[in-house]
């Protein structure tokens, strides 16, 4: 249930004709707009004052009148007449009622204690006079602009236009010290180096500012700052939380991916595509230095959610997980709260439950998988060459054995019993003894794309042919140490057991029920079986408890240890077939084979199993030539290719499963599904939202495409608004993750649309957008405000001055490290372990604490353990990673002061700074203070500040002297002074 808080009611209880006398051409402090817009001028008045009784909810509607639709507002009233007659104010009862002075007639009624202002009445009147044009919700209308997209003054013009309307006067440009500090912090999250400050101040050329901006835009620290902004959207964490806080493999690789992407200014449309469907892109984007594919790393954001430990109701667990995926995806990329439509159609936005379950199908069709982190074009090429070599070997053998072709034709099919694919006791889920994988999916390179049937077995030393492989799925079909996984289509569990005939070493067979991955005891332990046997063995899974659930089988070399996937070098797995059965393992399975589809192509030795058998027998009997010296070099080259394909580095990602449509779950309860299934598609209210995805898989590629369709009104707007938010501390739409009807209206709609159009026109370049904004005069203004401004625009919506803001948690900590010169600017890599205080207790606590100073690394490199979040980060409002947070809270609590006053890290850093200062061997006291001021505040101390410092030192020396007259006194007093500096508001506020 959703609660609406609308304070004012209008009741149209009875109608009467009354004389109206009022001056409708009066003057207002803020003149009426030339064209009254429904979304920006009229709807807010109606929502606030009318909709409780005349809105969408029929249960509270009065007089059968609804003002939320054009049809409703212009319909004939029960009592006669019409509330609104477009273009005819005199015939519109609404106008008569709002201007009425009779307490029994006026709207809103007096008992609501609410009154329309004269300006509001005039707006409604003028709007009806102009034709009462109804419009779709503003954010669903595509952005348009008449401005010149290359005009460098466009932003200032559009900001200025609204300031003028509000009668505000802009303040002057900030001084250069403030400017460089502002740009440096907002672009890189770090204070400027004093040398940079001096250089900028000394540079009096016209281009000095733009040059300075480019320095920070091109700094590697830029990516570290903007990646962290993005990480707030995707609930970035390196563990799965819940009971034991398991690691999310390679989460940090996604963090590094973001840093590189922002630094390289990868176009936003590409970033979006890589997130939504990076695994499905035909043209992947490679890391320029390493050649490794970047695109698939984007999909890691899907797996950043919470992971439940042994949920009893695994289907509900899936529903919760998918809900979180939908929530994060739609908020992040579309600024819409689609998750609200889980239980019923959205109460406020035109988003239906069907929309939600259309996306649910997309997510349900998406599977999770370890993904090798080092896939490159080179590897893809090597894999292809390997396959080509194998084909070559087959062809070679076939041509030399051409005489055997005819005798093979006569081989008897009866050598194999043909078994039914299904009978009352069992169902064959997959048979790999033929030449293919029986519609299973082979992911990665290990298994190749066909079974081993007919592969020549060659002695690598001599090149002698030992025989032909029988049919099986083998992870060493190409060679050992290569990643791959063989996965079945989805099935509904309807038998007590699943059986897989397999052998192998250090490998696993897993039953994935409802996409549940954290398989372990209690409950699920039996669903992950280790394979360590050199002989064919029947692996049996008792799935009786999950009958009716959706599941698939995963056959994978290597395995999971505490949910971290490892691929030992000697790991391999081979499988013949998989079945579902009741009672005993069906006996005829072992010899029998299902041969519904038999390939028979001698030229490539793509022949049925019985022919392979016969040829092997003939070979044994010496009927066939077995010396193939040509094969030896081929085998050698193959081994070299295999070495190029080996991998041992993974991240948790996704791969595309088999397309599933979902029913609607009544009231969000999966136990109450609708009869109809909702085809996978986008949101029906947006353009192309009705086009059903045609993909046989999840349809995520199509999802990315519709989000990037030129008619999508949200994608570009939402992103430019996020950029604006990070630069000004507030978005043009303040509710950065909600552009729906309950979100705030844009303060500068024309500006937002201009930026949205420009962003697309500039090739979705984030850096260009940032450059355009920070080089505007609006951005450069001082924070100083006079009382007039404070009164007229108390919240600084119109940006006559630059907003004062507190720095984020990371910027505060990193800033301290920079000014003490102890920042280790090493980029990338595994996170630095969390420093565990006594207060951070509970299950899953790491055995060892990380270092208190995080090895001096930037905060973005500190581990994010869901159940052991860094207290300094959370206290300074870094969001708890469970949903999208495009805008952080800014709280002000004593624990923040306590950290800066008493936290051992801050004290340690103060001491370090004092030591640095001693080392510098500067002569005078004043010089030292100035050094500190330049480091910490990017400016010199004033004479007043110098004097205060001097007095403070006198006092400190007296106190220290009493306690300790040792040589360390000088160090001790400077430490106290530096510690005080960190506690100054100027240090944590951008002013």
């Amino acid at each position: 249930m959703y609660l609406r808080r609308i304070n004012v009611l209008i009741l149209f209880c009875s109608l009467g004709v009354l004389g109206i006398s009022c001056d409708r051409s009066q003057q207002f402090s803020e003149p009426l707009p030339k064209v009254v817009d429904f979304n920006f001028h009229v709807k807010p008045i109606l929502v606030q004052n009318c909709y409780l009784c005349h809105g969408p909810d029929p249960s509270s509607r009065k007089a059968e009148l609804r003002l939320d639709t054009y049809e409703g507002a212009t319909a004939a009233l029960k009592e006669g007449g019409h509330a609104i007659v477009p273009g005819k104010t005199s015939k519109s009862n609404l106008v008569q009622r709002i201007y009425n002075e009779d307490p029994g007639q006026i709207m809103p009624p007096p008992e609501t204690n609410l009154k329309l202002t004269e300006r509001e009445k005039a707006l409604l009147n003028k709007w009806i006079d102009q034709g009462a044009q109804w419009k779709e919700h503003w954010s669903f209308i595509s952005p348009e602009t008449k401005m010149d997209l290359e005009d460098p003054n466009a932003i200032d013009f559009l900001i200025g236009k609204q300031m003028e309307v509000k009668g505000l006067e802009k303040v002057p440009i900030a001084n250069k010290n403030s400017l460089i500090r502002r740009v440096s912090y907002l672009l890189t999250g770090l204070p400027p180096n004093p040398k940079e400050v001096e250089k900028f101040i000394a540079d009096t050329t016209k281009v000095a500012y733009n040059k300075m901006v480019d320095v920070y835009l091109n700094s590697p620290a830029f990516g570290e700052r903007w990646a962290r902004h993005w990480m707030d959207l995707v609930r970035y964490a390196e563990t799965k939380g819940h009971e034991f806080d398991y690691t999310i493999t390679g989460a940090w690789k996604y963090r590094d991916y973001l840093i590189r992407a922002f630094n390289e200014d990868v176009p936003y449309d590409q970033i979006l595509k890589e997130h939504i469907a990076g695994d499905l892109l035909e043209n992947t984007r490679e890391n320029k230095e390493t050649g490794v594919s970047e695109s698939r790393l984007g999909t890691t954001f899907y797996v950043m959610g919470e992971g439940t430990h042994s949920p009893v109701d695994v289907r509900q667990d899936e529903a919760d997980r998918i809900d979180n995926m939908i929530d994060v995806t739609t908020k992040t990329f579309q600024g819409l709260t689609v998750s609200c439509a889980k239980c019923h159609d959205h109460k406020f936005d035109p988003i239906t439950a069907a929309d939600y379950y259309a996306l649910y199908g997309v997510m349900e069709s998406t599977r999770f998988s370890p993904v090798p982190a080092d896939v490159s074009k080179d590897k893809k090429l090597a894999a292809k060459e390997l396959v080509d070599l194998k084909t070559y070997m087959r062809k070679l053998v076939a041509s030399k054995w051409s005489t055997a072709k005819n005798s093979a034709e006569n081989a008897e099919l009866a050598q194999n019993t043909v078994v039914a694919r299904t009978n009352e006791n069992y169902t064959l889920i997959g048979d790999f003894r033929g030449s293919d994988f029986d519609e299973w999916t082979s992911d990665g390179f290990a298994f190749g794309q066909r079974s081993t049937l007919g592969d020549p077995i060659v002695d690598p030393a001599t090149g002698k042919l030992l025989g032909l492989q029988e049919g099986k799925a083998s992870s060493k079909a190409m060679g050992m140490g290569i990643f791959g996984a063989l996965r079945s289509p989805n099935m509904v569990l309807d038998k007590d057991f699943i059986g897989v005939r397999a052998l192998g070493q250090n490998s696993s067979i897993r039953i994935i029920i409802d996409n549940f991955q954290l398989i372990q005891n209690p409950i699920y332990g039996g669903m992950d079986q280790k394979v360590n046997t050199g002989n064919w063995n029947n692996f049996v899974f008792n799935v009786a408890a999950w009958k009716g659930r959706k599941a698939y089988i995963e056959i994978i070399p290597g395995g999971y240890e505490r949910h971290i996937y490892n691929l030992p070098e000697d790991a391999f797995i081979e499988a013949q077939y998989a079945i579902a059965y009741d009672g005993e393992w069906p006996a005829d399975m072992e010899n029998g084979i299902s041969l519904e589809q038999v390939n028979d192509n001698w030229a490539t030795l793509d022949i049925p199993p019985y022919k392979v058998k016969m040829l092997n027998e003939d070979l044994k009997k010496g009927k066939l030539p077995l010396n193939f010296p040509e094969l030896k070099p081929v085998v050698d080259s193959s081994q070299q290719l295999v070495n190029r394909l080996k991998t041992d580095s993974f991240f948790n990602g996704i791969y595309d499963g088999y397309g599933i449509d979902s029913p609607i779950f009544n009231r969000g309860n999966y136990k109450e599904p609708s009869k109809e299934y909702i085809p996978r598609r986008f949101l029906s209210v947006l353009s192309l939202g009705d086009s059903v995805f045609k993909s046989e898989g999840s349809g995520r590629m199509e999802l990315a495409e519709v989000m990037l369709n030129k008619d999508n009104p949200l994608t570009s707007r939402v992103m430019v608004n996020r950029i604006w938010h990070h630069l000004f501390g507030r978005g043009i739409v303040e509710t950065v993750d909600n552009f729906g009807l309950q979100g705030k209206l844009p303060s500068h709609p024309e500006l937002l649309d201009y930026l949205a159009v420009k962003f697309q026109n500039d090739g979705w370049s984030i850096k260009s957008m940032i450059r355009a904004i920070v080089t505007s005069e609006t951005f450069k203004r001082s924070t100083l405000r006079n009382d007039l401004l404070a009164n007229k625009d108390p919240n600084n919506i119109y940006l006559a001055s630059f907003p004062v803001r507190r720095l984020e948690a990371e910027a505060i900590r990193d800033g301290i490290l920079v000014v003490t010169e102890s920042l280790d600017s090493t980029m990338y890599g595994p996170p630095v372990a969390t420093y565990l205080t006594e207060f951070m207790q509970g299950r899953g606590r790491p055995g060892k604490s990380g270092p208190i100073d995080g090895e001096g690394r930037r905060s973005i490199y500190l581990e994010v353990r869901r159940n052991f979040l860094e207290p300094m980060m959370t206290t300074f409002d870094r969001p708890i990673p469970f949903s999208t947070f495009g805008s952080r809270n800014v709280t002000n609590v004593p624990s923040q002061s306590l950290i800066l006053m008493n936290d051992p890290l801050v004290a340690q850093q103060a001491e370090l700074m004092a030591e640095k200062l001693m080392e510098k061997r500067m002569i005078g006291f004043e010089e030292k203070v100035q050094w500190i001021y330049m480091q910490a505040f990017s400016r010199l101390a004033t004479s007043e500040e110098l004097e205060k410092a001097s007095n403070f030192f006198d006092m400190l020396r007296t106190m220290e002297g009493k306690a300790d007259a040792s040589d360390n006194q000088e160090l001790a007093v400077w430490k106290e002074y530096c510690h005080s500096i960190f506690n100054l508001k100027e240090f944590i506020y951008l002013i």
């Binding site: 009971e243 408890a545 100083l784």
Partner: protein, 483 residues
């Protein structure tokens, strides 16, 4: 983030705040300046993003404070407050022949297991209590017992989140955070939501106590026993008065900054925050040292016991009383760690030893707390809540344990607004399922809020496009236990 507001909080004017620039550090009378705003929220900007600010109750409250005695792991209802003679009669029989057995987390269903403890009737009301809790038994006339609790989750972590936040998922605000959001704290020098970490942080971790999407000011402060009860509460300066001098210096410089910038409100708040932080430094140690507690009081709680776990929990109970005396809105006590294999109430095996050790540690301190509160007249304004996250099965797990049971468990409340000596709800003859007057966790939340004067349907916060509630879209008052 999707915050909106329709109601603006009372904003302290800048002039009121500028008292700051005068006088020495710690000399300002801040008390009372902030009305009933929550702890740490003098006028912080985040309040302006709150969707709906109820600075004060919706109606006349019965309780001012809550002490939440969290029985981590799930106490067995049939061994504590819900006697089932049939278990004794059918001890050792196959439960599946008697009733439908639900899937459990460990799926190791054993035989029907009788309670190893006897039950006796106590007090004027005659409430039966097992021998596990001889001290609490002496307080039954103040206790309203609910035997018909159910949870939605049979796993600890989900169930813990559910009990604490009303949702089985991570990241939602804890009830202590909601209470403080709704009511604020009466004391400006101590946080309004305190968790006394007795040794065990429940599964799910500190997220059980977090603010979720509410502003960070509403999260719990975790207190530990030992020399630094609250993180960063002890000054690092080795020399007396040095910190005061530094803070004075800081304030001087900060104050001169105010004149140089616009929109100084947030900065002013940050400055005054130091005043609060400074005061916390002295008020917390004063609180955790029991200087003025008499020997008799300490003995009442069991501070003279030989059992170190009992002494530890006794000290937490005394601290809880001292906290609510000082106006802390919500205090939660976690369980002591009574030793390997039997930590928390989660006895999948070794029921007898485990429940006995846990009960021994908490029984006397809890009874002491109830009696002490009563004798001081504090029980009238304090709600004491005792519950685990779910119950346990009436049949064995293996031979001598009990598995999780979300289908029935017992909890009790005592104190303000609660009808003492009441038994509400009923389970079947095995204590396996509720058959009468089912009470959900949402109902419990609604009832606790009601006693504090809060309407659970009205206390909302806009997040992600929805007006969020502790009780989501659920919750009915348990009227029968209200006085």
């Amino acid at each position: 983030m999707g915050h909106h507001h329709n109601t603006k909080p009372r904003v302290i004017s800048r002039r009121e705040m500028l008292g700051l620039s005068a006088g020495g550090f710690g000399s300002l009378a801040f008390m009372g300046l902030f009305g009933t705003l929550p702890f740490g929220c003098k006028r912080a900007s985040h309040l302006e993003t709150a969707s709906n600010l109820y600075l004060g109750p919706h109606y006349l409250p019965k309780a001012k404070n809550v002490i939440f005695l969290y029985m981590d792991g799930g106490v067995s209802q049939v061994d504590s407050f819900d006697p089932k003679p049939r278990l004794t009669r059918e001890n050792g029989e196959d439960p599946r022949k008697k009733f439908k057995v639900d899937a459990t987390q460990f799926d190791n269903v054993g035989k029907i297991l009788k309670s190893p403890w006897d039950f006796k009737q106590y007090g004027e009301c005659g409430m039966p209590v097992s021998d596990l809790f001889p001290h609490i038994a002496t307080c039954v006339d103040d206790i309203a017992l609910i035997r018909s609790m159910v949870s939605n989750f049979p796993e600890h972590t989900n169930a813990n989140y559910f009990l604490h936040t009303g949702s089985g998922l991570q990241g939602r605000p804890s009830m202590g955070a909601w209470m403080n959001y709704g009511l604020g704290s009466e004391n400006k020098n101590i946080p309004g939501y305190v968790v006394l970490d007795g040794g065990l942080v429940p599964p799910g971790g500190l997220d059980n106590f977090k603010n979720g999407f509410l502003p960070a000011s509403y999260q719990a402060s975790v207190f530990k026993s030992g020399p630094e009860p609250v993180a960063n509460i002890n000054p690092r300066e080795g020399i007396k008065n040095l910190q005061e001098e530094k803070l004075q210096f800081i304030k001087q410089l900060d104050s001169s900054l105010i004149g140089k910038i616009g929109e100084a409100d947030a900065v002013e708040s940050a400055i005054s925050n130091y005043e609060l932080a400074y005061k916390m430094q002295s008020s917390i140690p004063e609180l955790t040292e029991f200087k003025e507690e008499t020997e008799a009081t300490k003995k009442l709680y069991g501070m003279d016991s030989d059992d170190p776990n009992l002494r530890g929990y006794a000290s937490q109970c005394i601290l809880a009383r001292r906290l609510i005396e000082r106006g802390v809105r919500f205090v939660e006590l976690t369980c002591p760690n009574v030793g390997p294999g039997v930590d928390r109430w989660d006895q999948h095996s070794n029921l007898k030893k485990g429940h006995e050790k846990n009960a021994h540690a908490v029984d006397q301190p809890i009874a002491g707390l109830l009696k002490d509160l009563k004798s001081r007249g504090l029980l009238e304004e304090t709600l004491v809540v005792w519950t685990g996250e779910f119950g346990r099965t009436p049949f064995a797990q293996g031979s001598d344990g009990r598995d999780h049971n979300p289908s029935a468990f017992s909890m009790w409340m005592a104190g303000a607004g609660v009808k003492g000596g009441t038994i509400f709800g009923k389970t079947d003859e095995y204590g396996y399922r509720v058959i009468e007057n089912e009470v959900t966790v949402h109902d419990l939340h609604a009832t606790i809020m009601h006693l504090l004067g809060l309407d659970h349907k009205q206390l909302t916060f806009r997040f992600g496009g929805r007006d969020m509630r502790l009780t989501d879209v659920h919750g009915n008052l348990v009227k029968d236990i209200l006085a």
